[in-house]
Symmetry: C2
Subunit: 397 residues, 2 copies
């Protein structure tokens, strides 16, 4: 068989601080409001995707986390179709340097995450960003790609950039102006740290696609939020990020998370993503900040019970110790903290009393310690390809 053309790329997870909830167009995935996110560092959380094309391949195929999945999924098909359309356009314009014969070839895709799906992190954003970035490389497409990633999974468009990223909702019916834009580079705010508190979830919550459909149909507060609250918050948030104003960034992040969950509760039937551990984390953060008389820590929650915490480097050791104290882990081994190293810290009795919550043993499984990171990258090391020269997943996957 012909030697396949192979590319491997990685892409990051992002966490929204101004939330996306609700589509105005289901097929094109156009949102009812703009949103803003922080790209998490790929050393802790990333998707790796290998894409191969070959004249010898019979069909488009995809393997996710070691298991072959259905390539006919409409959102996968949207991304494949759009990338091929751009590649064809580019070839017809005479601009491509890449061997354009591969345009007629079938593609094999293999993708893995370096974090468990059970962590409840939105892996579809990193997954579709990585898919689109890899396909673009293999088919020789350049330029604006976030609009294609968006058609895979809305929030995936924000994973196409590092640092601080806004997804501008756009106005056009065809969605051409609904794209992600970098607000600041990943190097902009080096002191910012992120802790993912992985809650021991009891049951799988309702999916975000159907959840947001029901919200758009039934919540009058969601419409008000999208039309009248978010536009002002986007301006405020961009300014807070540009100024590196942690209290402003933190308070708006918490308010927007709460408002998103409020619109879920205003949905009929109501949707609950926060559980009692989430409520405890929220209370803990507010009491921690109140103890110091300043906003040192912020929480945000997506469509699940896991808290994502923002704080500054200098407060990480103490806050982690606070979490460990009020959510005593199963063992006292080092496995409670994954990712970036966290120094030990002592807690004062005053602080513990000031927080004054009843400890919840095993409420949090573990913490992923990370920071702001870069956007998708090409992996140059050929040994990292997930597909072999036969176009099939390597045995190690």
């Amino acid at each position: 068989m012909d030697k396949p053309n192979i590319v491997t790329c990685t892409a990051p997870v992002n966490i929204a601080v101004i939330k996306y909830w609700g589509k105005r167009n289901e097929e094109l995935i156009l949102p009812i409001n703009s949103s803003l996110s922080v790209t998490l560092h790929q050393e802790q959380l990333k998707t790796t995707t290998t894409v191969a094309t070959s004249r010898s391949f019979q069909d488009d195929r995809i393997w996710l986390n070691g298991k072959e999945e259905d390539i006919t999924h409409p959102r996968l098909q949207s991304c494949l179709r759009e990338i091929r359309r751009l590649a064809r356009k580019r070839r017809n314009d005479g601009g491509t340097a890449v061997d354009s014969t591969c345009l007629s070839h079938k593609v094999h895709i293999c993708s893995v995450n370096n974090f468990p799906t059970a962590a409840g992190l939105a892996s579809s954003a990193a997954g579709f960003a990585c898919l689109v970035y890899s396909l673009a490389r293999v088919f020789g497409v350049e330029g604006e790609l976030s609009g294609i990633a968006r058609q895979g999974s809305g929030s995936a468009c924000r994973s196409m950039y590092g640092g601080f990223v806004q997804w501008v909702m756009g106005q056009q019916d065809d969605g051409k102006d609904s794209v992600a834009q970098q607000v600041e580079l990943e190097t902009h705010w080096p002191e910012l740290r992120i802790l993912v508190l992985v809650a021991s979830a009891e049951r799988k919550p309702i999916g975000s696609t159907s959840g947001m459909q029901t919200s758009v149909q039934t919540s009058c507060l969601l419409k008000h939020r999208a039309d009248s609250v978010v536009p002002g918050r986007m301006v405020e948030m961009i300014e807070a990020v540009q100024r590196k104003d942690f209290p402003a960034f933190a308070e708006l992040t918490m308010k927007d998370s709460n408002q998103f969950h409020a619109t879920c509760l205003d949905t009929y039937p109501p949707i609950f993503y926060l559980n009692s551990v989430s409520h405890q984390v929220i209370n803990l953060v507010h009491r921690y900040n109140r103890h110091y008389g300043e906003t040192r820590v912020a929480y945000t929650f997506d469509a699940g019970p896991n808290a994502v915490i923002f704080t500054l480097q200098q407060h990480v050791p103490e806050f982690v110790q606070v979490v460990r104290h009020f959510f005593p882990p199963e063992t006292n081994g080092g496995h409670f903290i994954k990712g970036l190293d966290v120094n030990n810290a002592d807690l004062s009795e005053e602080l513990k009393q000031s927080i004054g919550l009843e400890p919840t043993p095993k409420g949090i499984s573990y913490i992923i310690s990370t920071k702001v990171g870069p956007g998708p990258c090409v992996v140059d090391d050929l040994t990292q390809h997930l597909l072999g020269s036969d176009g099939l997943p390597k045995k190690t996957v």
Copy 2:
């Protein structure tokens, strides 16, 4: 000493189906939106208050549930002042039949509830309604009294009437037009039944007075709700009650409860009144209704975790059995159900599977089974007075 002039009255608890949350005037207790409630039957839930006046009394005094309390509380003082003002006005207009000399007398007040405070039911509404009704009787005041009860506790104005009651928010700065009005008599909808599911609460939630202050100051969704959502819902709810349209009444009741709790979550810092048992009850009700393809049961929650359930008489036995199945009580004795008798019912396997929740043992302490009831009444039986002829609480209190 002179024989005191004694009156004993009772007043009901009410449960709002269009919620009151937020004041536009803290002192006069004027709300930011109208609300609508159902008066619960006093056989199950009532406050009894005895008021005595005598030339011999040295001071105004009050005993609540057997314990003397501070009469100088501003809201108690508001009610006392307003009733005495009306009595004086009436005397000066020459209209009173009651011995007006008692106007200069001090008053002793003694009040008890026939339900535990731990039930988490808003006892202040029944309490202030009963206080104002009793004081009006002893001082010979008649006519509109809900505006005075409102100044004791906002929702108390709705406990001044039986059946279905709206609190019209009013427009005037002096609050004269912010009063309760009966929408329908207690005999209007005899099939309607009410079940109070008393949750085993872990801790006391934040009080409603300070909670609603913070919400008014910080929640942009609350303002939108008050200005743009509630006015339409009041019209819809009054029509649903008048038509006795259970599905319309039930759905609007659930939506409005959820929206109230959504605005609590949109408050900063957020307020949580619903706990995991409340979430379970909400899910249970929606799955029960879905199983039958019609809205047979509704929930509503005030500023605490207890669910108040509305349903029609014919569905009570089965729904109670559903609650007993998914919240198995500590013992299987008869104490799980208080109030109106509930017949036994069997549950089909299909129904249990269709609801499909994990049972939560002891999540609900007990159920109070009740119905729509009348407004405040005078107790003619003199042996029921809570104050003796010496003006002090009887030993049995």
